[in-house]
Assembly symmetry: C2
Homo-oligomer: 307 residues x 2
C-alpha cells in the first residue's frame, strides 16, 4: 500500500570531522521518502522555494516518489546549517532559515486523501492535526516531534498526540515529554497521551517499541531492534527520519499489522538509519538496492539472534 | 566447571532516590560470585577486615560459594560511600576507604590453582598479572578494569591485557582505553592489545561482544544482547560485576566455548545485571531461583527475537 509523508524539504549545510557539504538536499520528508521508497510507493507533501531545481526533484523521482504534492512558493527553500563534533549525537546549529517553510500550510492533493498510511513528519503539531483531518482515509497515522514543540507548544502537541497511532521519538524527547527518567515509565506516560505504540530511538544502540495494552491486538511486550555497530558515522543527519522511512515503509508494504510485521519493521528502520549515516546527506539512500538492504537486515538479525 | 574470582569484598553505603543503605555487603568479587553461583561452583579470593562477620560470610556460603580464599587482616574492610542522582549511570563518591584492601596481595590457595576458569576483578593490573601466574591451570582468563587504572597505570594495564582472554568494560572505558570514539574501532584497538574477545557494556542498552579474527575458532562477527527495559533502577551498584558473573558463570557451566554458548552467556550476563539493580546492594542476587533466571532469559530473548 502507498504511504503519504508530510514534512520538511530542505537544504542542509553540514560539517562533520569527515568533511563538509553545502546546500545538500535534506529535510525530514526527503529522508523519510527515500528510505521508504525501497518498500512501497511514497507520496510527499511539502514546500520548497525557487532555488529547488529539477535536479533536486529528480533525486526523488528517480526513486519513483510521487512529487505532485510538493508546493513551490516564492522565496527560498528551508536551509539548515550545522556541525557535529566528536560526539555525533549532538548537532551545533549555525543557522536555521525557515524561509518558505515558515508559511507552510499543507494542502493534501485530492487523490492522496485516501492514502491509508500517513507519516506526519516534524512540523508544527497543529499542522499535523490539520493534515490528519485532510487525509480522511488514513488507517495508520504515525509521526514524530522534537524538543522544540515539546517545550514551546505543549498544548498543541497534546492535541496532536491524540491523532497519532504511533509516535517515533528519541530517548531525550521521551524523557522531556514525560518528565520521567526511566524509559519504560516514560513510555507508559506517553502511551497514555494517545499513541497505541511508541518507538523510542536509542541512536547507535537501536530502538525499542512499547505498546499500549491491547494495541493492534498484538500484546504489549516491548520489542527492541539493535543498531548495527557502525565504524564511521560520516553524517548523522536524517538518521531518525530514515529509521521512520524504513519502519513505516515496510509496514505499509505489508498492508497489515501483526507483531511479526512490527518486529521486522523495527529491524528495517534500523537498517535504513544505518545506511543513512554512512555518507553525507541522502547520498547513500539514493542508490541502494533491495539486495543490500536485505543483506544488512540479515546481518542485523544475526547480531542478536539466539537459536 | 568451577570458576575462581579475585576482586574486592567491601561495604557500600549507598544513596539513590529510592532510599539509602549503610555498610551493605558489596565489592566486585561479591557481586560476581553471587551472580555466578546460580550457574556453577564459585571460589572467591579477596581480603576483609575484622568488621567482616560470620553474617557477611554467610551471604556467600548460603549460595555454596567457596570462601576459604578470603583473607582476614587486621583493620577494616574496604568501605565505599556514594550516591546516584537521577541519572543512574553516574555515581558521586562521598569517600573511598581502601582499608585492608590497600595491602591486598592475593594468595591463591593451592587447591584453587588448577581452576580452569578465572575472573580477574577490578584490582591493580599488576596484581591481575600476579594472580594469573599463580592460577597456572587457567584455561580461560577474563577480567575487567576501570578508568582509574586506564589513567594512572597504563603501562601495567598494557601488561595485564596480554594475559586476558576476555576483557569486560563499559562504553566510556573502551573509548578511554583506545582513544577512539567509534565503538567498533575502539574494539579493534583493544583487541589488538591482547584479549581475544571484548565485551562492551552499554548500561540499559545491553552489551556487545567483539572478537579478534579467529578467536576461539568461532568467527568474528560481533554479537549484542539487549538489556531488558527496567522500570526502576533502585541501585545500579554492581551491575557490571553481576553481568560478568552471569556471563562467565554460564560459560564455566558449559565447560566449552562455542559461538552459541557465548551468545547465551551474553544474555545471562544481562539477566543477572538486570536483577542486581532491582534492589539495594546484593539483596536481589541473594535469593533468586534458576526458574526466575530462566524466565527472564526467555523474556530477554523474546525482546529481540525474529522468527
Amino acid at each position: 500500500m502507498p504511504i503519504l509523508a508530510v514534512g520538511s524539504l530542505a537544504f542542509d549545510s553540514i560539517r562533520t570531522r569527515f568533511g563538509s557539504v553545502e546546500k545538500e538536499l535534506g529535510g525530514s520528508a526527503t529522508y523519510f521518502a527515500l528510505a521508504a521508497s525501497y518498500f512501497t510507493e511514497v507520496r510527499v507533501v511539502g514546500i520548497v522555494g525557487e532555488d529547488f531545481g529539477a535536479e533536486h526533484e529528480a533525486v526523488l523521482r528517480r526513486r519513483n516518489i510521487r512529487t505532485e504534492g510538493i508546493e513551490r512558493a516564492a522565496g527560498k527553500t528551508f536551509h539548515w546549517s550545522g556541525e557535529y563534533a566528536e560526539n555525533v549525537n549532538e548537532a551545533r546549529t549555525h543557522f536555521t532559515h525557515l524561509n518558505v517553510f515558515e508559511n507552510f500550510r499543507p494542502q493534501i492533493p485530492g487523490e492522496f486523501r485516501a492514502t491509508e498510511f500517513l507519516f506526519l513528519g516534524n512540523i508544527h503539531p497543529s499542522l499535523q492535526v490539520e493534515v490528519r483531518r485532510q487525509v480522511n482515509g488514513a488507517r495508520l497515522v504515525a509521526g514524530d516531534t522534537m524538543n522544540y514543540w515539546i517545550n514551546h507548544t505543549p498544548g498543541e502537541l497534546t492535541e496532536a498526540l491524540r491523532v497519532f497511532d504511533m509516535l517515533l521519538i528519541n530517548d531525550g524527547e521521551a524523557r522531556m515529554l514525560s518528565h520521567e527518567s526511566s524509559l519504560p515509565r516514560a513510555a507508559n506516560h506517553v502511551l497514555a497521551m494517545g499513541p497505541k505504540a511508541l518507538v523510542i530511538k536509542h541512536g547507535e544502540y537501536g530502538a525499542t517499541v512499547f505498546f499500549r495494552e491491547g494495541a493492534f491486538g498484538i500484546g504489549h511486550h516491548p520489542f527492541r531492534a539493535p543498531a548495527l555497530p557502525i565504524e564511521e558515522v560520516k553524517d548523522p543527519t536524517g538518521a531518525g527520519d530514515s529509521f521512520a522511512g524504513g519502519f513505516l515503509g515496510y509496514i505499509a508494504s505489508q498492508g497489515e499489522l501483526s507483531r511479526e510485521v512490527l518486529k521486522r519493521a523495527m529491524f528495517y528502520g534500523g537498517v535504513m538509519g544505518s545506511f543513512a549515516v554512512e555518507d553525507f546527506g541522502t547520498r547513500r539512500l539514493q542508490a541502494l538496492s533491495r539486495e543490500e538492504i536485505d543483506a544488512r537486515f540479515r546481518a542485523f538479525r544475526e547480531l542478536t539472534h539466539l537459536e
